[in-house]
């Protein structure tokens, strides 16, 4: 893969949050929120980052945005101006500023991510003014263009966020992010707070904007059905680590990790006649402060053997672009989504 083919490349990214105790704030341990994550995104591509709560998926998104400084690892980003790739993980906030327009983010809660004291016009114009993108009539023109891009009307510009429903607010967040012509949009659970009918509207809008503007998405969600609908490649995380990383089709048709299989079987389907037997996992997600030895998933795994509790499985390549962290990927025959009711 030549360098220009990759927009974002994350290598062995780690974020350990220290836990302080006592009067002297002594560090007594670390929450290993993200513990060695690698993936890459090509321009215009969608990478789905999926996992249960606490697996570190949002922390990965925040590190890419520069909101958290990684403990270690590299985040290589290729700016569109052709100046060559840069490592965001080593940059100071000041160095990062000119790059920020290229990477934008939308959040889960559209009620918390819009300033209630600003009109929609002010909200949409602010990033354009801060980054010297447009002024005067050009600014107004761009703001109008943006509001129409997301399916709202110019009359809406004078209103305040409280006058809008959840779905409309999420549209405004998308418009604000699109103002700077980003190359990468980090979408952290963008539809989790919305009703299904509204979720469908936002999904359609996101796909339409992607096709129109050719930007890449890092789509973070706990919803496997939604991730599958969106993504070309999928990274599945469990307790801070990547367990499986593969093109979407491969992952869903032939998963190689038992966790992927179990998660797929647990997605509640509206087509009950298609659904096979559910795999009910024992217990709950491991504690990221004190993960179990060996494979973090072994206490819940249906197929675990002695080696799983002693030796941590390395991330290995099995098949084209298919990477998995399990000792038994070659020997296990796991059910793909045909068994749980999908029709690729």
């Amino acid at each position: 893969m030549s360098q220009s083919d990759v927009l974002l490349e994350v290598k062995n990214l780690k974020k350990h949050f220290p836990i302080y105790r006592g009067v002297f704030k002594k560090v007594v341990g670390y929450v290993k929120a993200v513990d060695g994550v690698s993936f890459s995104i090509k321009p215009g591509e969608t990478l789905g980052l999926v996992g249960e709560s606490g697996c570190g998926k949002s922390t990965v998104g925040r590190m890419i945005m520069g909101a958290y400084r990684p403990t270690s690892g590299e985040i290589w980003f290729t700016p569109p101006d052709g100046s060559g790739k840069v490592n965001l993980a080593e940059m100071s906030p000041k160095e990062m500023k000119p790059l920020r327009p290229h990477i934008q983010m939308i959040f889960q809660d559209p009620f918390a991510s819009l300033n209630p004291r600003m009109t929609i016009r002010e909200i949409l114009a602010e990033p354009l003014i801060v980054n010297n993108i447009a002024k005067g009539a050009a600014l107004e023109g761009r703001v109008r263009e943006l509001i129409e891009l997301v399916g709202l009307k110019v009359q809406h510009l004078t209103r305040y966020p409280h006058a809008f429903s959840g779905g409309q607010r999420q549209r405004i967040c998308i418009a604000r992010a699109m103002g700077l012509y980003p190359r990468l949009l980090v979408a952290d659970e963008p539809t989790s707070a919305l009703d299904v009918s509204v979720q469908a509207q936002i999904v359609n809008l996101s796909l339409e904007i992607q096709n129109q503007m050719g930007l890449a998405y890092l789509f973070i969600s706990h919803d496997l059905g939604l991730i599958r609908h969106f993504s070309q490649k999928i990274v599945l995380m469990y307790v801070g680590k990547v367990v499986e990383y593969a093109p979407a089709q491969n992952l869903f048709v032939k998963p190689l990790h038992p966790y992927t299989e179990a998660l797929m079987s647990n997605v509640p389907s509206v087509r009950p006649e298609l659904v096979g037997k559910k795999i009910i996992l024992k217990g709950e997600t491991a504690d990221p402060i004190n993960p179990p030895p060996g494979c973090a998933f072994h206490p819940r795994c249906l197929y675990s053997q002695e080696i799983c509790s002693n030796e941590e499985p390395k991330l290995r390549q099995i098949g084209p672009d298919h990477v998995v962290a399990c000792h038994f990927s070659e020997t296990l025959t796991l059910n793909g989504c045909d068994a749980f009711g999908c029709s690729i």
Partner: protein
């Protein structure tokens, strides 16, 4: 045999300064022993208020203005025998208090907010037992431990003295189920009990509820916005929109042969594990009507693909029509293909 619980033309209105919100506007259904009725709807459809009405815990300024909630009292109940109308019962009286938690109990979405943070889980589970029976504290404690074992909490002898914040989300929801079922109620109202949980834990909790239902034989009223979860657990399904029932049918019919355009639209808009990827999803245009308006006809008018703005839909009074064995639809023009 009459059903365990029968709700007839229930209307719950909220009287606020700006006008009247008809949160529940003429909902009828019945619940039989050992069965699960799923109530599915989007936010603001009034589904939670239906559950609250049954326990008579509708928050102010909401009032039950019409309808009956007929409940078949248990044979062992000391206060009252036969069928009583819960609407006429004093919400703060002793009869209501003796029903809550012992005959009908409820589990909520966020178990952290439903437990008292300053009492141990065990004391809160035992409280229900001590209130509704003559057991001694030691006996109640033993029963609580047994119940914790039953809902799958490891080391129950230690966990019974834990505070809610010391338990994980899934464990807290299990403890909440233990608290709700400790008096062996005959009706369990579950209001979005798995919404705050991860899918693997959600699958565990749904399996647990089904298991306990088989064992104890209680009826479950399961309220959720998640169609997949509803299809997994329900025997019958009620689709509500804007405080009204749009369609009611056995679970198989709702998902394989949905007749109301709203049900059809809802089902199409979910990107399941079986939808073709990166295609446009069907959406429902527009948003819910202003909750302060009173709509005579179909509340889905204006957003519906089938009626095409036909004013018959707006003006014909709302009515639930029987279209098949246990299948009811409220579509004024019956544009549904039967």
């Amino acid at each position: 045999m009459p059903p365990l619980l029968e709700v007839d033309d229930l209307q719950v209105h909220f009287f606020i300064d700006e006008g009247t919100v008809r949160a529940v506007d003429g909902v009828s259904f019945s619940l039989e022993q050992g069965k699960t009725l799923g109530i599915v709807g989007e936010s603001g459809s009034g589904k939670s208020v239906i559950g609250q009405s049954i326990l008579r815990i509708v928050p102010s300024p909401g009032k039950i203005v019409n309808g009956r909630i007929l409940f078949q009292m248990g044979p062992n109940d000391v206060n009252e025998q036969g069928i009583i109308d819960l609407v006429t019962v004093d919400a703060k009286g002793s009869l209501a208090r003796s029903i809550r938690g012992s005959e009908i109990s409820m589990i909520f979405q966020e178990p952290m907010n439903s437990f008292s943070p300053v009492h141990t889980v065990g004391s809160q589970i035992m409280e229900a037992l001590l209130l509704h029976s003559d057991l001694s504290k030691a006996e109640a404690r033993n029963q609580a431990i047994e119940m914790l074992i039953r809902v799958g909490i490891p080391q129950p002898e230690n966990r019974i003295d834990a505070y809610p914040h010391q338990l994980s989300g899934g464990m807290r929801q299990r403890a909440m189920i233990a608290m709700a079922l400790i008096c062996r109620p005959r009706v369990l109202i579950a209001d979005e009990p798995t919404t705050a949980l991860d899918v693997t834990v959600q699958a565990q909790i749904l399996a647990l509820l089904k298991e306990l239902q088989e064992e104890f034989g209680m009826a479950i009223l399961f309220i959720s916005h998640n169609l997949g979860v509803i299809s997994d657990i329900s025997d019958d399904v009620l689709v509500v929109y804007f405080g009204r029932v749009m369609e009611q049918a056995p679970v198989g019919d709702i998902f394989e042969n949905p007749l109301h355009p709203y049900t059809q639209a809802l089902l199409r808009s979910v990107p399941g594990i079986d939808t073709p990827v990166r295609t446009e999803l069907a959406t429902i245009e527009g948003s819910l009507p202003d909750p302060l308006t009173y709509i005579v006809g179909c509340p889905f008018f204006g957003r519906c693909n089938e009626c095409g703005g036909n004013t018959v839909c707006r003006d014909n009074p709302y009515e639930l029509t029987k279209v098949g064995d246990r299948h009811f639809v409220a579509c004024p023009r019956m544009c549904v293909k039967l």
